[in-house]
Protein backbone atom coordinates (compact mmCIF):
# COMPACT_ATOMS: atom_id res chain seq x y z
CA UNK A 1 0.00 0.00 0.00
CA UNK A 2 1.31 3.41 -0.93
CA UNK A 3 2.44 5.95 1.61
CA UNK A 4 0.05 8.59 0.37
CA UNK A 5 -2.98 6.48 1.05
CA UNK A 6 -1.73 5.83 4.56
CA UNK A 7 -1.33 9.56 5.10
CA UNK A 8 -4.82 10.31 3.88
CA UNK A 9 -6.26 7.69 6.19
CA UNK A 10 -4.26 8.97 9.14
CA UNK A 11 -5.37 12.52 8.44
CA UNK A 12 -9.04 11.53 8.29
CA UNK A 13 -8.84 9.77 11.62
CA UNK A 14 -6.90 12.59 13.23
CA UNK A 15 -9.66 14.91 12.04
CA UNK A 16 -12.37 12.70 13.53
CA UNK A 17 -10.51 12.50 16.82
CA UNK A 18 -10.06 16.27 16.94
CA UNK A 19 -13.75 16.71 16.24
CA UNK A 20 -14.61 14.46 19.17
CA UNK A 21 -12.23 16.21 21.52
CA UNK A 22 -13.42 19.73 20.74
CA UNK A 23 -16.79 18.47 21.93
CA UNK A 24 -15.36 18.39 25.42
CA UNK A 25 -15.90 21.76 26.99
CA UNK A 26 -15.25 22.93 30.48
CA UNK A 27 -16.86 20.90 33.19
CA UNK A 28 -20.27 22.33 33.96
CA UNK A 29 -20.41 20.56 37.29
CA UNK A 30 -17.61 22.78 38.53
CA UNK A 31 -18.77 26.16 37.24
CA UNK A 32 -21.05 28.32 39.34
CA UNK A 33 -24.57 27.37 38.31
CA UNK A 34 -26.20 30.55 39.68
CA UNK A 35 -23.85 32.92 37.83
CA UNK A 36 -24.41 31.00 34.63
CA UNK A 37 -28.17 30.92 35.14
CA UNK A 38 -28.23 34.70 35.59
CA UNK A 39 -26.35 35.15 32.33
CA UNK A 40 -28.66 32.95 30.29
CA UNK A 41 -31.82 33.88 32.24
CA UNK A 42 -32.88 30.32 32.76
CA UNK A 43 -32.45 27.40 35.10
CA UNK A 44 -32.33 23.89 33.67
CA UNK A 45 -34.65 21.67 35.71
CA UNK A 46 -34.97 17.92 35.68
CA UNK A 47 -38.69 17.13 35.97
CA UNK A 48 -40.94 14.10 35.71
CA UNK A 49 -43.24 13.74 32.72
CA UNK A 50 -45.03 10.53 33.72
CA UNK A 51 -46.33 11.49 37.15
CA UNK A 52 -49.83 12.92 37.38
CA UNK A 53 -50.17 15.93 39.73
CA UNK A 54 -46.38 16.48 39.84
CA UNK A 55 -45.21 16.40 36.24
CA UNK A 56 -47.24 14.86 33.45
CA UNK A 57 -46.97 15.23 29.69
CA UNK A 58 -50.10 16.78 28.23
CA UNK A 59 -50.44 14.99 24.91
CA UNK A 60 -52.64 17.74 23.48
CA UNK A 61 -50.23 20.60 24.09
CA UNK A 62 -46.95 18.70 24.29
CA UNK A 63 -46.23 20.52 27.56
CA UNK A 64 -45.48 19.02 30.96
CA UNK A 65 -47.90 20.03 33.72
CA UNK A 66 -47.97 19.57 37.47
CA UNK A 67 -47.06 20.87 40.89
CA UNK A 68 -43.31 20.35 40.43
CA UNK A 69 -43.49 22.20 37.11
CA UNK A 70 -45.36 25.15 38.62
CA UNK A 71 -42.85 25.23 41.48
CA UNK A 72 -39.93 25.20 39.03
CA UNK A 73 -41.48 28.11 37.13
CA UNK A 74 -42.19 30.10 40.29
CA UNK A 75 -38.72 29.45 41.73
CA UNK A 76 -36.99 30.39 38.48
CA UNK A 77 -38.85 33.68 38.34
CA UNK A 78 -38.25 34.34 42.04
CA UNK A 79 -34.50 33.79 41.64
CA UNK A 80 -33.79 35.22 38.19
CA UNK A 81 -36.57 37.77 37.71
CA UNK A 82 -40.04 37.79 36.16
CA UNK A 83 -38.74 37.56 32.57
CA UNK A 84 -36.85 34.32 33.24
CA UNK A 85 -38.27 30.96 32.18
CA UNK A 86 -37.39 27.46 33.34
CA UNK A 87 -35.91 24.96 30.88
CA UNK A 88 -37.55 21.61 31.52
CA UNK A 89 -35.72 18.35 30.86
CA UNK A 90 -37.54 15.05 31.37
CA UNK A 91 -36.08 12.66 33.91
CA UNK A 92 -37.15 9.49 35.66
CA UNK A 93 -36.21 8.31 39.13
CA UNK A 94 -33.64 6.19 37.36
CA UNK A 95 -31.97 8.95 35.34
CA UNK A 96 -32.20 12.06 37.52
CA UNK A 97 -29.08 11.50 39.66
CA UNK A 98 -26.64 10.69 36.83
CA UNK A 99 -28.03 13.55 34.75
CA UNK A 100 -27.63 16.03 37.56
CA UNK A 101 -24.17 14.78 38.44
CA UNK A 102 -23.18 14.84 34.79
CA UNK A 103 -23.96 18.54 34.69
CA UNK A 104 -26.88 18.24 32.26
CA UNK A 105 -29.14 19.91 34.81
CA UNK A 106 -28.93 22.77 37.31
CA UNK A 107 -31.51 21.33 39.66
CA UNK A 108 -33.94 18.45 39.97
CA UNK A 109 -37.51 18.95 41.17
CA UNK A 110 -38.98 15.53 40.57
CA UNK A 111 -40.73 14.00 43.60
CA UNK A 112 -37.31 13.39 45.10
CA UNK A 113 -37.05 12.47 48.75
CA UNK A 114 -34.21 13.89 50.82
CA UNK A 115 -32.29 10.84 52.06
CA UNK A 116 -28.93 10.52 53.80
CA UNK A 117 -27.58 8.34 50.97
CA UNK A 118 -28.44 10.93 48.38
CA UNK A 119 -27.06 13.71 50.53
CA UNK A 120 -23.66 12.10 50.26
CA UNK A 121 -23.55 12.79 46.55
CA UNK A 122 -25.97 15.71 46.14
CA UNK A 123 -27.15 18.76 48.02
CA UNK A 124 -30.81 19.38 48.76
CA UNK A 125 -32.87 22.48 49.37
CA UNK A 126 -35.20 22.61 52.37
CA UNK A 127 -38.15 20.29 52.01
CA UNK A 128 -40.96 21.69 49.88
CA UNK A 129 -43.47 18.85 50.11
CA UNK A 130 -43.99 16.25 52.82
CA UNK A 131 -45.09 13.07 51.20
CA UNK A 132 -45.21 9.60 52.71
CA UNK A 133 -45.00 6.20 51.15
CA UNK A 134 -48.16 4.21 50.64
CA UNK A 135 -49.67 1.45 48.51
CA UNK A 136 -51.91 1.44 45.46
CA UNK A 137 -54.02 -1.64 44.80
CA UNK A 138 -56.94 -2.69 42.63
CA UNK A 139 -60.28 -2.01 44.28
CA UNK A 140 -61.30 -4.95 46.42
CA UNK A 141 -57.77 -6.28 46.82
CA UNK A 142 -56.96 -8.28 49.96
CA UNK A 143 -54.02 -5.98 50.58
CA UNK A 144 -55.09 -3.20 52.90
CA UNK A 145 -51.80 -2.05 54.32
CA UNK A 146 -48.09 -2.76 54.25
CA UNK A 147 -48.69 -5.52 56.84
CA UNK A 148 -50.47 -7.57 54.19
CA UNK A 149 -47.35 -7.77 52.05
CA UNK A 150 -46.15 -11.33 52.55
CA UNK A 151 -43.93 -13.83 50.84
CA UNK A 152 -45.41 -14.45 47.43
CA UNK A 153 -46.89 -10.98 47.04
CA UNK A 154 -45.35 -9.01 44.24
CA UNK A 155 -44.92 -5.29 44.72
CA UNK A 156 -44.12 -2.97 41.85
CA UNK A 157 -41.74 -0.08 42.34
CA UNK A 158 -39.65 2.23 40.24
CA UNK A 159 -35.89 2.01 39.73
CA UNK A 160 -33.97 4.71 41.51
CA UNK A 161 -36.74 5.54 43.97
CA UNK A 162 -36.06 5.00 47.64
CA UNK A 163 -39.56 3.56 48.05
CA UNK A 164 -38.11 0.29 46.78
CA UNK A 165 -35.66 0.14 49.69
CA UNK A 166 -38.34 1.24 52.13
CA UNK A 167 -40.81 -1.47 51.18
CA UNK A 168 -38.08 -4.08 51.35
CA UNK A 169 -37.37 -2.97 54.91
CA UNK A 170 -41.05 -2.87 55.86
CA UNK A 171 -41.86 -6.20 54.19
CA UNK A 172 -38.63 -8.15 53.70
CA UNK A 173 -40.26 -11.28 52.27
CA UNK A 174 -42.13 -9.61 49.51
CA UNK A 175 -40.81 -9.64 45.97
CA UNK A 176 -40.14 -6.23 44.45
CA UNK A 177 -40.27 -5.68 40.69
CA UNK A 178 -38.60 -2.49 39.57
CA UNK A 179 -39.74 -0.78 36.40
CA UNK A 180 -38.13 2.15 34.71
CA UNK A 181 -40.75 4.83 35.33
CA UNK A 182 -44.18 5.43 36.89
CA UNK A 183 -46.08 5.11 33.62
CA UNK A 184 -44.54 1.67 33.06
CA UNK A 185 -45.06 0.74 36.70
CA UNK A 186 -48.77 1.63 36.64
CA UNK A 187 -49.20 -0.16 33.30
CA UNK A 188 -47.57 -3.23 34.85
CA UNK A 189 -49.92 -3.08 37.84
CA UNK A 190 -52.92 -2.82 35.54
CA UNK A 191 -51.61 -5.77 33.51
CA UNK A 192 -51.50 -7.83 36.69
CA UNK A 193 -47.73 -8.05 36.92
CA UNK A 194 -47.89 -7.20 40.62
CA UNK A 195 -50.37 -7.12 43.49
CA UNK A 196 -49.60 -3.59 44.63
CA UNK A 197 -47.65 -0.57 43.54
CA UNK A 198 -45.68 1.33 46.10
CA UNK A 199 -44.41 4.87 46.08
CA UNK A 200 -45.27 8.18 47.68
CA UNK A 201 -48.91 8.98 48.38
CA UNK A 202 -49.02 12.09 46.18
CA UNK A 203 -47.98 10.10 43.12
CA UNK A 204 -50.36 7.26 43.99
CA UNK A 205 -53.33 9.63 44.37
CA UNK A 206 -52.48 10.93 40.90
CA UNK A 207 -52.73 7.39 39.52
CA UNK A 208 -55.94 6.73 41.40
CA UNK A 209 -57.41 9.93 40.02
CA UNK A 210 -56.55 8.79 36.51
CA UNK A 211 -58.05 5.32 37.01
CA UNK A 212 -60.53 5.11 39.91
CA UNK A 213 -60.43 1.30 39.76
CA UNK A 214 -57.23 1.61 41.76
CA UNK A 215 -57.16 2.96 45.31
CA UNK A 216 -54.60 4.11 47.85
CA UNK A 217 -54.72 1.97 50.99
CA UNK A 218 -53.24 1.76 54.45
CA UNK A 219 -52.08 5.34 54.99
CA UNK A 220 -48.41 6.21 54.88
CA UNK A 221 -45.69 4.07 56.41
CA UNK A 222 -42.72 6.40 55.91
CA UNK A 223 -42.04 10.12 55.77
CA UNK A 224 -40.80 11.37 52.44
CA UNK A 225 -39.81 15.02 52.48
CA UNK A 226 -39.28 16.16 48.90
CA UNK A 227 -36.33 18.45 48.25
CA UNK A 228 -34.83 20.17 45.25
CA UNK A 229 -31.58 18.43 44.40
CA UNK A 230 -28.50 20.32 43.23
CA UNK A 231 -24.89 19.42 42.65
CA UNK A 232 -22.42 19.52 45.52
CA UNK A 233 -20.45 22.73 45.63
CA UNK A 234 -23.29 24.89 44.28
CA UNK A 235 -23.86 26.60 47.62
CA UNK A 236 -24.86 29.93 46.08
CA UNK A 237 -27.61 28.31 44.05
CA UNK A 238 -28.72 26.38 47.10
CA UNK A 239 -28.95 29.51 49.22
CA UNK A 240 -30.87 31.29 46.48
CA UNK A 241 -33.21 28.29 46.20
CA UNK A 242 -33.93 28.18 49.93
CA UNK A 243 -34.51 31.94 50.02
CA UNK A 244 -36.88 31.70 47.05
CA UNK A 245 -38.77 28.86 48.74
CA UNK A 246 -39.20 31.01 51.85
CA UNK A 247 -40.37 33.95 49.74
CA UNK A 248 -42.91 31.83 47.88
CA UNK A 249 -44.24 30.48 51.16
CA UNK A 250 -44.43 34.00 52.61
CA UNK A 251 -46.25 35.55 49.66
CA UNK A 252 -48.84 32.79 49.44
CA UNK A 253 -47.79 31.44 46.05
CA UNK A 254 -46.76 28.13 47.56
CA UNK A 255 -50.09 27.45 49.31
CA UNK A 256 -51.93 28.50 46.17
CA UNK A 257 -50.01 25.95 44.11
CA UNK A 258 -50.50 23.16 46.65
CA UNK A 259 -54.24 23.83 46.67
CA UNK A 260 -54.36 24.07 42.88
CA UNK A 261 -53.03 20.53 42.48
CA UNK A 262 -53.96 18.76 45.70
CA UNK A 263 -56.94 20.74 47.08
CA UNK A 264 -59.61 18.59 45.42
CA UNK A 265 -58.08 15.15 45.74
CA UNK A 266 -60.43 13.01 47.85
CA UNK A 267 -58.63 11.33 50.72
CA UNK A 268 -55.60 13.53 50.44
CA UNK A 269 -54.79 16.12 53.10
CA UNK A 270 -53.33 19.12 51.34
CA UNK A 271 -52.42 20.70 54.70
CA UNK A 272 -50.34 17.77 55.84
CA UNK A 273 -47.84 18.10 53.02
CA UNK A 274 -46.89 21.74 53.50
Amino acid sequence: MTKRFKHVLAAVFAGLLALTLTGCGQSAASRDALTHAKQVKTLVWGVKADTRLFGLMNIKTGKIEGFDIDMATALTKQILGADAKPTLVQVTSDTRVPMLKGGNLDAVIATMTITPERQQVLDFSDAYFNAGQSLLVKKGSAIRSVKDLKAGTKVIGVQGSNSVDNVQKAAPNTKVLQLSDYAQAFTALKSGQGDALTTDNGILYGMSEQDPDYVVVGGTFTKEPYGIAMNKGQSRLRQAMNQALKDLKANGTYTKLVNKWFGDIPGFDAKEVQ
Partner: protein
Amino acid sequence: MQNFIDAYSQINLSYLLQGLWITVEVSVTSIFFSFLIGTLLGIARYVKVRFFSAAVGFVIDLIRNLPLLLILFFTYFALPKIGIRLGVIPASIVAMTIFESAMLAEIVRSGIIAVPIGQMEAARSNGLSYSQAMIHVILPQAFKKMIPPIVSQFISLVKDTSLATIILLPELTYHAQIIYGQNVNYTIPMFVALAVLYFVANYTLSIGARLINRRLNHA
Protein backbone atom coordinates in the same frame (compact mmCIF):
# COMPACT_ATOMS: atom_id res chain seq x y z
CA MET B 1 -63.55 -1.49 18.86
CA GLN B 2 -64.54 1.74 20.56
CA ASN B 3 -61.12 1.69 22.23
CA PHE B 4 -59.47 1.74 18.84
CA ILE B 5 -61.58 4.65 17.62
CA ASP B 6 -60.87 6.65 20.78
CA ALA B 7 -57.19 5.72 20.84
CA TYR B 8 -56.66 6.93 17.29
CA SER B 9 -58.02 10.39 18.00
CA GLN B 10 -56.43 13.18 16.05
CA ILE B 11 -54.53 14.36 19.13
CA ASN B 12 -53.05 10.94 19.85
CA LEU B 13 -52.20 10.28 16.23
CA SER B 14 -50.42 13.58 15.83
CA TYR B 15 -48.52 12.86 19.05
CA LEU B 16 -47.49 9.47 17.65
CA LEU B 17 -46.41 11.07 14.39
CA GLN B 18 -44.29 13.58 16.30
CA GLY B 19 -42.57 10.57 17.83
CA LEU B 20 -42.21 8.94 14.43
CA TRP B 21 -40.58 12.12 13.17
CA ILE B 22 -37.93 11.95 15.91
CA THR B 23 -37.39 8.26 15.08
CA VAL B 24 -36.85 9.17 11.43
CA GLU B 25 -34.64 12.14 12.27
CA VAL B 26 -32.39 10.15 14.59
CA SER B 27 -32.33 7.16 12.21
CA VAL B 28 -31.48 9.13 9.09
CA THR B 29 -28.73 11.14 10.80
CA SER B 30 -27.25 8.01 12.36
CA ILE B 31 -27.45 6.13 9.06
CA PHE B 32 -25.57 8.95 7.34
CA PHE B 33 -22.77 9.18 9.89
CA SER B 34 -22.45 5.47 10.52
CA PHE B 35 -22.21 4.83 6.79
CA LEU B 36 -19.33 7.30 6.50
CA ILE B 37 -17.50 6.20 9.63
CA GLY B 38 -18.28 2.52 9.11
CA THR B 39 -16.80 2.65 5.59
CA LEU B 40 -13.66 4.38 6.84
CA LEU B 41 -13.26 1.90 9.67
CA GLY B 42 -13.89 -1.02 7.34
CA ILE B 43 -11.15 0.20 4.99
CA ALA B 44 -8.83 0.91 7.91
CA ARG B 45 -9.28 -2.64 9.08
CA TYR B 46 -8.82 -4.04 5.60
CA VAL B 47 -5.62 -2.25 4.57
CA LYS B 48 -3.54 -3.72 7.41
CA VAL B 49 -1.47 -0.80 8.59
CA ARG B 50 0.65 -2.27 11.34
CA PHE B 51 -0.83 -1.82 14.90
CA PHE B 52 -3.35 0.72 13.63
CA SER B 53 -5.56 -1.80 11.82
CA ALA B 54 -5.31 -4.25 14.68
CA ALA B 55 -6.27 -1.54 17.17
CA VAL B 56 -9.22 -0.45 15.04
CA GLY B 57 -10.24 -4.08 14.71
CA PHE B 58 -10.15 -4.62 18.45
CA VAL B 59 -12.24 -1.53 19.19
CA ILE B 60 -14.76 -2.61 16.55
CA ASP B 61 -14.97 -6.05 18.16
CA LEU B 62 -15.48 -4.51 21.59
CA ILE B 63 -18.36 -2.35 20.40
CA ARG B 64 -19.96 -5.11 18.36
CA ASN B 65 -20.03 -7.36 21.40
CA LEU B 66 -21.75 -4.93 23.75
CA PRO B 67 -25.52 -4.33 23.98
CA LEU B 68 -26.60 -1.11 22.32
CA LEU B 69 -28.57 -0.35 25.48
CA LEU B 70 -25.32 -0.18 27.41
CA ILE B 71 -23.72 2.09 24.82
CA LEU B 72 -26.77 4.38 24.98
CA PHE B 73 -26.54 4.58 28.74
CA PHE B 74 -22.85 5.20 28.58
CA THR B 75 -23.12 7.99 26.02
CA TYR B 76 -25.79 9.77 27.98
CA PHE B 77 -24.66 9.25 31.56
CA ALA B 78 -20.95 8.50 31.49
CA LEU B 79 -19.60 10.84 28.81
CA PRO B 80 -20.55 13.92 30.88
CA LYS B 81 -17.99 12.65 33.35
CA ILE B 82 -15.23 13.46 30.87
CA GLY B 83 -16.85 16.74 29.92
CA ILE B 84 -18.94 15.70 26.91
CA ARG B 85 -22.51 16.73 27.60
CA LEU B 86 -25.08 15.95 24.97
CA GLY B 87 -28.80 16.54 24.77
CA VAL B 88 -30.94 13.47 24.46
CA ILE B 89 -31.23 13.63 20.65
CA PRO B 90 -27.50 14.15 19.95
CA ALA B 91 -26.66 11.52 22.58
CA SER B 92 -28.93 9.01 20.86
CA ILE B 93 -27.41 9.83 17.48
CA VAL B 94 -23.86 9.47 18.82
CA ALA B 95 -24.65 6.15 20.51
CA MET B 96 -26.41 4.74 17.44
CA THR B 97 -23.57 5.93 15.22
CA ILE B 98 -20.88 4.34 17.40
CA PHE B 99 -22.71 1.02 17.48
CA GLU B 100 -23.81 0.89 13.86
CA SER B 101 -20.43 2.09 12.53
CA ALA B 102 -18.82 -0.94 14.14
CA MET B 103 -21.46 -3.21 12.59
CA LEU B 104 -21.04 -1.59 9.17
CA ALA B 105 -17.24 -1.73 9.33
CA GLU B 106 -17.47 -5.53 9.38
CA ILE B 107 -19.87 -5.54 6.43
CA VAL B 108 -17.60 -3.20 4.45
CA ARG B 109 -14.50 -5.20 5.23
CA SER B 110 -16.00 -8.48 4.08
CA GLY B 111 -17.44 -6.68 1.06
CA ILE B 112 -13.98 -5.53 0.01
CA ILE B 113 -12.50 -8.94 0.64
CA ALA B 114 -15.14 -10.40 -1.67
CA VAL B 115 -13.90 -8.31 -4.62
CA PRO B 116 -11.40 -10.49 -6.54
CA ILE B 117 -7.80 -9.47 -5.87
CA GLY B 118 -7.18 -9.37 -9.62
CA GLN B 119 -9.30 -6.21 -9.81
CA MET B 120 -6.82 -4.31 -7.67
CA GLU B 121 -3.86 -5.71 -9.57
CA ALA B 122 -5.41 -4.83 -12.91
CA ALA B 123 -6.22 -1.29 -11.78
CA ARG B 124 -2.72 -0.78 -10.42
CA SER B 125 -1.08 -2.09 -13.59
CA ASN B 126 -3.19 0.39 -15.55
CA GLY B 127 -1.41 3.16 -13.65
CA LEU B 128 -3.96 3.96 -10.92
CA SER B 129 -2.59 4.74 -7.46
CA TYR B 130 -3.69 2.56 -4.54
CA SER B 131 -6.23 5.08 -3.32
CA GLN B 132 -7.53 5.70 -6.84
CA ALA B 133 -7.94 1.99 -7.37
CA MET B 134 -9.66 1.69 -4.00
CA ILE B 135 -12.09 4.53 -4.61
CA HIS B 136 -12.85 4.04 -8.30
CA VAL B 137 -12.54 0.30 -8.80
CA ILE B 138 -12.79 -1.70 -5.58
CA LEU B 139 -15.30 0.20 -3.45
CA PRO B 140 -18.01 0.58 -6.14
CA GLN B 141 -17.96 -3.17 -6.75
CA ALA B 142 -17.84 -3.92 -3.05
CA PHE B 143 -20.79 -1.62 -2.29
CA LYS B 144 -22.93 -3.31 -4.92
CA LYS B 145 -22.50 -6.60 -3.06
CA MET B 146 -22.95 -4.97 0.31
CA ILE B 147 -26.33 -3.41 -0.36
CA PRO B 148 -28.47 -6.22 1.14
CA PRO B 149 -26.53 -6.54 4.43
CA ILE B 150 -26.21 -2.77 4.75
CA VAL B 151 -29.94 -2.34 4.31
CA SER B 152 -30.78 -4.93 6.95
CA GLN B 153 -28.34 -3.14 9.23
CA PHE B 154 -30.19 0.12 8.61
CA ILE B 155 -33.49 -1.58 9.33
CA SER B 156 -31.99 -2.75 12.61
CA LEU B 157 -30.95 0.82 13.29
CA VAL B 158 -34.48 2.13 12.82
CA LYS B 159 -35.81 -0.56 15.15
CA ASP B 160 -33.05 0.01 17.68
CA THR B 161 -33.93 3.68 18.10
CA SER B 162 -36.78 2.35 20.25
CA LEU B 163 -34.21 1.37 22.88
CA ALA B 164 -33.45 5.05 23.40
CA THR B 165 -36.73 5.29 25.33
CA ILE B 166 -34.51 4.30 28.24
CA ILE B 167 -32.88 7.72 28.14
CA LEU B 168 -36.28 9.30 27.35
CA LEU B 169 -35.68 10.08 23.70
CA PRO B 170 -39.15 11.32 22.67
CA GLU B 171 -39.40 8.89 19.75
CA LEU B 172 -42.25 6.71 18.54
CA THR B 173 -42.20 3.99 21.21
CA TYR B 174 -41.83 6.50 24.03
CA HIS B 175 -44.76 8.55 22.78
CA ALA B 176 -46.89 5.42 22.54
CA GLN B 177 -45.92 4.56 26.12
CA ILE B 178 -46.97 8.02 27.28
CA ILE B 179 -50.35 7.59 25.60
CA TYR B 180 -51.15 4.15 26.98
CA GLY B 181 -49.59 5.14 30.30
CA GLN B 182 -52.41 7.66 30.65
CA ASN B 183 -55.20 5.39 29.48
CA VAL B 184 -54.92 1.65 29.85
CA ASN B 185 -57.63 1.03 27.25
CA TYR B 186 -55.31 2.36 24.59
CA THR B 187 -52.62 -0.28 25.24
CA ILE B 188 -53.54 -2.69 22.45
CA PRO B 189 -54.33 0.04 19.89
CA MET B 190 -50.98 1.66 20.63
CA PHE B 191 -49.03 -1.58 20.15
CA VAL B 192 -50.89 -2.21 16.91
CA ALA B 193 -50.03 1.32 15.78
CA LEU B 194 -46.38 0.81 16.74
CA ALA B 195 -46.13 -2.43 14.79
CA VAL B 196 -47.77 -0.87 11.73
CA LEU B 197 -45.68 2.31 11.78
CA TYR B 198 -42.35 0.52 12.24
CA PHE B 199 -43.30 -2.02 9.62
CA VAL B 200 -44.21 0.67 7.10
CA ALA B 201 -41.04 2.65 7.79
CA ASN B 202 -38.77 -0.38 7.47
CA TYR B 203 -40.59 -1.93 4.55
CA THR B 204 -40.28 1.34 2.66
CA LEU B 205 -36.56 1.19 3.38
CA SER B 206 -36.20 -2.35 2.01
CA ILE B 207 -38.32 -1.63 -1.07
CA GLY B 208 -36.18 1.44 -1.76
CA ALA B 209 -33.07 -0.70 -1.43
CA ARG B 210 -34.50 -3.29 -3.81
CA LEU B 211 -35.10 -0.54 -6.40
CA ILE B 212 -31.55 0.78 -6.05
CA ASN B 213 -30.20 -2.73 -6.32
CA ARG B 214 -32.17 -3.39 -9.50
CA ARG B 215 -31.01 -0.14 -11.09
CA LEU B 216 -27.36 -0.89 -10.23
CA ASN B 217 -27.59 -4.36 -11.70
CA HIS B 218 -29.05 -3.02 -14.92
CA ALA B 219 -26.48 -0.26 -15.25
